[in-house]
Symmetry: C2
Subunit: 262 residues, 2 copies
Amino acid sequence: MTPVDELDLVLQLPLFDGLEPESGRRLLGPSLHCEAQAGVNLFQQGERPEYLHVLIEGAVELRCVDPTGHEVVVEVVRPVDCFILAAVVTDAPYLMTARTLEHSRLLLIPAGHLREELYRQPALSLVLLGSLARHYRALVRQIKDLKLRTSAERVGAFLLCLALDQGGATTVELPYRKRVLADRMGMTPENLSRAFARLRECGVQNQGSHVVIEDLERLAEYCRMDTAIDRVEAALRVPAQQVLPDSSESVPPSRAQGTTDT
Amino acid sequence: MTPVDELDLVLQLPLFDGLEPESGRRLLGPSLHCEAQAGVNLFQQGERPEYLHVLIEGAVELRCVDPTGHEVVVEVVRPVDCFILAAVVTDAPYLMTARTLEHSRLLLIPAGHLREELYRQPALSLVLLGSLARHYRALVRQIKDLKLRTSAERVGAFLLCLALDQGGATTVELPYRKRVLADRMGMTPENLSRAFARLRECGVQNQGSHVVIEDLERLAEYCRMDTAIDRVEAALRVPAQQVLPDSSESVPPSRAQGTTDT
DNA sequence: CGGGCTTTTGACGTCGATCAAATTCGGTGG
DNA sequence: CCACCGAATTTGATCGACGTCAAAAGCCCG
C-alpha cells in the first residue's frame, strides 16, 4: 500500500467523518508517518506542541509526571484517534507525556499547518470540536472514577464494560498483563491483586488473564454503575482492534472506534 | 442597559474574540437570559443538554454525584465563560450537575440553534474549540492535582496562585469561607484546617481568611509547583472579578478572563 | 449574654502505597 | 522431560493520607 492510498483510508475513518476528501487530503498532505516500538516516548510534558498526533495503529498512553517521579495515567489512546489536540489548538506546552504501549504507527500533522487549515476549512473545526468534546467527557468520567470509587469498584466497572461490550458475556479476557492494567486503572499491581480478591466475594473468578463473572447484575450493583453515565465510557476501555483494513478489505464495521469514547 | 446593548457587550468579551459582530448577534439572537440565586441547580447530571450556558456574572460549580450521594467538584466556572460545551456538541447527557455558588446571570443558547450556527460560521467553531481546549487542559491539571498532591500541597498551590496573581503579594485573602473552599479543593473542612496547620511549618500564617506567606519560594518548593505546567492554571482559581462593565464604561482590561484557564 | 454557625482538634477507621517475602508462571538449557 | 532463572503476581505487615465522628473553641449577631 502506498502512503497516498493509506491516507485515503485514514480519511475514511470515523475520526474524519464529515470531511471532504479533498480538504482531508490537503490537511494530511504535509503530515509525517511515524512508527515506534512499544515503550517509546513520543514527547514529554512541558514541550511545545509541534504536531497533532493521529494514532493509526497500536496504543499510546498519556501520563502526567510530578517532580518526585510519581505518575498518573490520564488517558489511553486507541486507534484511530488524535491526541493532544488541546495543546495544539491553544499552542501551549504539553501537560502530559505520551508513550507507546505497543508498536504503533502515527500520522503527525504539523501544528502550524493544522491551525491554517482550521481557518480554511469550517468542517475541520467541527470534526476536531467533536473529538475534543469526547476526550473532555472521558476526563470528567476519569475524575469521577478516581474520586468516587474504590479500586475494587474501578476494576469491577472495567470488567463490566469488557463484558457488556461483548454483548453481556460472562467471561472475559483481560486485554493487558496485570502490571499494565494496574497502571491504567490508577493503582499499584499489589492493589489490583487485592481488588480481584475482593471481587471474588461478589462472584468474580480470576485465573491469570481469564475472568468469569457469575452475576453481571450483582457486579454492577457492587461497583455502583450509573447507566446514564458510566456505560457510555465502555469504548474507552475496549482493547484495540485492528482498525486499518488490509488494502484488500473494506473499512471494518463501525463499532465506534473512531474516538476515545462515545 | 437594554438586553440588546448587553448582548453587544457580551460579544466583546474574550470568550467571543474573533467572532464577527453580526454573526455573534445571530448566535445570541435566540438566547435566553437567566438569573439565579446562590445554590440553585441549573441542571442535573443525566439530563439532555438543551442550552449552551454562558456565565456572565456570578459563579457556577460543576460536580459529579454518585448513587451514595458523595460528590466531586469537577470545575468552578467564572465569568465570562461557557460551560457544558462538550455535552452540547456531542448531544449526550450531562455528566455533571451545575449549581450556582453566588447570585448569577447567564445566557442560554439553545443547543439546536448553536449546532446550526456551528455549520454556518467557521469562526464560531474555532472560538468554541479554543474554549473547550482550555477546559480540557484544566481537567488534566485537576487529575494531576488530585492524584499527585496531598491536600496540604493542593492548598499551598492554591495560595501560591492567589499570591502570584497579585504580582507576588505575600499576603492574600481567601476568596470564600473555608467550608466552601474545602469543597472546591476536594477535601473536608477538617482536612483543610489540618492542611493549613501543616503549611504553618513552611511559613504560612493564617488568621481567618487572611493568609500571610513568609517565603514564596519555600512554599513553591513544598507543593512541588511545576512552572511549565502549574503556573498556567492560576486563572482557574482566581476569585471572580466584575467582568461586565457598567454601560458607561468600556471593556475592562484583558486579564485573561474569557476562559477558565489560559 | 446566649444560641447557632463555622473552624479547629483529637480519636478512630478505611483505603491505598510501600516494603518484603512467598508463590506462580513462562520459557531455557541441560 | 525436567530443573532452574527471572519476571510477574500474590500475600502479609506497616505506614501515611483522608474521611468520619465527636467535642471543644471561636465568632457573629441579635
